[in-house]
């Protein structure tokens, strides 16, 4: 109490005000004129990217893979002088494969970290949560790797751009071929959350349109570690084809248990998308059935070996020795957004959105077989979808897949995108972090 009284007497309100005014005047003389100072600061102000990527939960590995992709793209730009003459920085928080965390992270990145745009997400629930926050503020958000058809369908937003192929794209690539090869009696086993449910719906619609009969739809709770009961049920149903829409760690466990029982050859498995981090490390015999992907490190295309070499040089310590589809999308999304900022010469969100809408990505530049286009009405990247299976003649320890065919973007276009109703430019808040 005594101490407090003495302090109060030592610094009177009047002396404090005097000191403040004097300090302000000195500061103005030193730092002014204000306008010029602001321009100077802005030219040095970094472009800041918010990486919303999982490091825990069922998509932890994929989250870190796409993070590596984004960081490699950022480093390439920084090595070449940045964007608009400004360096690029990134902030990253673990979104924990949890929508609530995604919401918190997005709020923090926009309101406290003042990011210029955000990117990342594997799980569609997380992506949807982030994009709602992004739309509220007008901050551009690149959904790099979550592939629920609703992401560019009923949950689309003006600020969101979806880079991965969606569940319907992959189903379209695989269904017709699988019905003709294996038969029309299908059973669908799916993860019981938004991506799995939407992909199951898309699979049912697409497969039945090609003449399939859906015998059963089996939901699998997220986090399931024992599939023996499900596998017995599948065997008892005796389907021609089992279509799977299970992701992350759950898919790893399912695959392991299928392989353990020797069921990989007894049943025709049609997967949706096989994410590279979900299979790498399990051995070249781990992949079975047919499935889709958007990139493979042994694609016979110019630029792919150089891309792989660049990855190896940058990430010699990672256990995933070669880049996969998740890394590829993370890299490409970051690179394209930075290119757009450079071309537009601004970080104004509406200008950038308009530049991204309808943007064409050359096949040789994206390391795919066909040109890709960012659909202006759904903000979903229309791209090459590859049909693949397990590789029975691998050329090395990383050669898990055998690419069977590649579908043009227009052949696998998702009808769920018709549900997309983007907010108008006027209804999208202006967002520019300068």
């Amino acid at each position: 109490m005594t101490k407090k009284t003495s302090l109060m007497s030592a610094i009177s309100r009047r002396s404090l005000l005097r000191a403040g005014v004097a300090g302000g005047a000195a500061g103005a003389a030193f730092f002014g004129p204000f306008k010029h100072n602001r321009v100077l600061a802005q030219s040095e102000k970094p472009i800041k990217i918010g990486l919303t990527m999982d490091a825990s939960g069922m998509y932890a590995n994929s989250g870190q893979s796409e993070r590596r992709g984004a960081i490699m793209a950022i480093e390439e730009f920084n090595d070449n002088g940045g964007v608009l003459g400004r360096p690029i920085e990134h902030v990253w928080y673990d979104t924990e494969t949890t929508p609530q965390t995604g919401t918190r992270v997005a709020e923090r990145m926009i309101t406290r970290d003042n990011v210029h745009f955000m990117m990342g997400a594997i799980q569609s629930g997380v992506a949807n949560a982030i994009s709602q926050v992004a739309q509220k503020y007008g901050c551009i958000y690149l959904n790099t790797n979550s592939s629920s058809p609703t992401e560019a369908g009923e949950n689309c937003h003006r600020v969101k751009f979806v880079f991965d192929g969606n569940g319907e794209n992959f189903t379209r690539a695989t269904s017709k071929n699988a019905i003709e090869t294996f038969g029309p009696r299908w059973l669908i086993i799916y993860s019981d959350y938004v991506w799995g449910q939407d992909t199951k719906d898309a699979t049912r619609e697409v497969a039945t349109s090609y003449g399939a009969e859906i015998m059963d739809e089996v939901p699998v709770p997220v986090g399931t570690r024992d599939f023996s009961g499900f596998l017995l049920r599948i065997q008892q149903a005796k389907p021609d084809v089992v279509a799977t829409a299970i992701g992350g760690d759950d898919y790893k466990v399912l695959r392991q248990q299928v392989r353990d029982m020797g069921l990989e050859d007894q049943i025709a498995w049609v997967g949706n998308q096989q994410d590279w981090p979900d299979i790498y490390g399990l051995g070249t015999d781990a992949a079975f059935g047919v499935f889709g992907t958007t990139f493979y490190h042994y694609l016979d295309l110019p630029g792919v070996p150089e891309f792989v070499a660049k990855y190896k040089a940058r990430y010699p310590e990672t256990r995933v020795d070669v880049p996969g589809n998740v890394f590829h999308q993370g890299y490409m999304a970051a690179r394209e957004m930075l290119r757009v900022i450079e071309e537009v010469g601004s970080t104004d969100n509406i200008k950038l959105i308009k530049a991204m809408e309808g943007r064409r990505f050359a096949a040789e530049d994206r390391l795919q077989h066909f040109d890709a286009v960012m659909d202006p009405n759904s903000h979903h990247l229309q791209q090459t979808i590859y049909l693949a299976t397990g590789n029975d003649a691998p050329r090395d320890d990383t050669d898990y897949f055998k690419i069977l065919a590649q579908a043009k973007p227009e052949e696998v276009r998702s009808e769920a995108e018709a549900m997309c109703n983007l907010e108008s430019y006027e209804d999208t808040p202006s967002y520019d972090q300068g």
């Binding site: 825990s56 065997q235 029982m261």
Partner: protein
């Protein structure tokens, strides 16, 4: 197909799964029964067991020691058998450090022990991540116990049957140890009355140390047995510690046969719901727990605990 014919494979599967759940819970049961410590690090120790076995068995198991090259050249069975023995011993010995850390918490609010083991769980998981990375590993098993076999027109996993038989053997061995050996008698006495054991001249600190190491070793064995089914990844321990906790509470804390019975019941609940109402399969064990503790708050065999006799 009749209902019985349809149901029988699921019942068999449920019992096999239940025995595996019981195996997971054994070490947890021993530590909580004797030391009255809820060891939240049980799951991480379970994972550590799988990783250490991986490092012993496989040259690509993250730690390719040059001096082990001749060992890696051995056939799968001896490597597997050695891993199954050596890995739990190494893990049990390492976990003695955790018991030393726990000592200041004995006789105090149980929350201290709970928090300490929770912290230990995080530390062990991060250590695994640092040493082996976050990616998935596959624990190789001998060809004789892999693949499937056909019974009544259905394919079953050979390894799962092996694992269930192994779990039965472990349960029987542990029961024998606790009930038919002088060491088991001391452990049970320690669970019943610590001070009396000390008064009789036994070194209580050493007893606790050995029991904790033994419980950790059991967790490691469960981790090795479950690795080919669940996979090997740093967070796999979470998949183990939650059912273990449910089984211990369901069976009655400290009850040996209560834990085994609860394990089988949980296995049946999970397997049957997976067959009939798949979206309820994850929650079924919690509903079972809720139903039992509503009417028997001490669990199925809470009164008849072998460790409380």
């Amino acid at each position: 197909m009749s209902t019985a014919t349809w149901l029988l494979p699921h019942l068999i599967n449920g019992v096999a799964l239940g025995l595996l759940f019981a195996l997971i819970a054994l070490g947890f049961m021993l530590i909580i029964g004797v030391m009255e410590v809820i060891n939240l690090a049980h799951g991480s120790i379970f994972a550590l067991g799988a990783y250490v076995a991986l490092a012993i068995m496989a040259p690509d198991g993250g730690l390719p020691f040059a001096f082990m090259e001749p060992f890696y050249a051995l056939p799968a069975w001896p490597r597997y058998a050695i891993a199954l023995v050596v890995a739990p011993i190494l893990v049990g010995a390492a976990c003695m450090l955790l018991e030393l850390c726990l000592r200041p918490t004995y006789g105090k609010d149980p929350l201290y022990g709970l928090l300490l083991t929770f912290g230990a769980a995080l530390v062990i998981e991060e250590m695994i991540r640092v040493v082996w990375g976050s990616s998935e590993y596959y624990l190789p098993i001998p060809r004789d116990i892999s693949g499937g076999f056909i019974f009544a027109d259905l394919i079953y996993s050979t390894y799962r049957i092996y694992a269930a038989i192994f779990a039965c053997a472990m349960i029987a061995l542990l029961w024998f140890f606790l009930n038919r050996t002088p060491y088991g008698a001391v452990i049970k006495a320690g669970a019943h009355d610590n001070e009396m054991v000390r008064a009789l001249g036994f070194n209580l600190s050493r007893l606790r140390l050995l029991v904790f190491a033994f419980g950790a070793g059991l967790a490691a064995i469960a981790g090795i047995i479950m690795a080919p089914i669940w996979g090997v990844r740093p967070v796999v321990g979470i998949d183990a510690v939650i059912p273990a906790f449910v089984i211990i509470v369901l069976g009655g804390v400290g009850s040996f046969w209560g834990a085994v019975t609860a394990g089988v019941l949980v296995g049946l609940a999970v397997a049957l719901t997976a067959a009939f109402v798949p979206d309820w399969s994850m929650i079924s064990m919690y509903l079972l727990l809720l139903a039992v503790v509503t009417f028997r708050p001490r669990g199925i065999a809470g009164r008849a605990s072998i460790l409380e006799r």
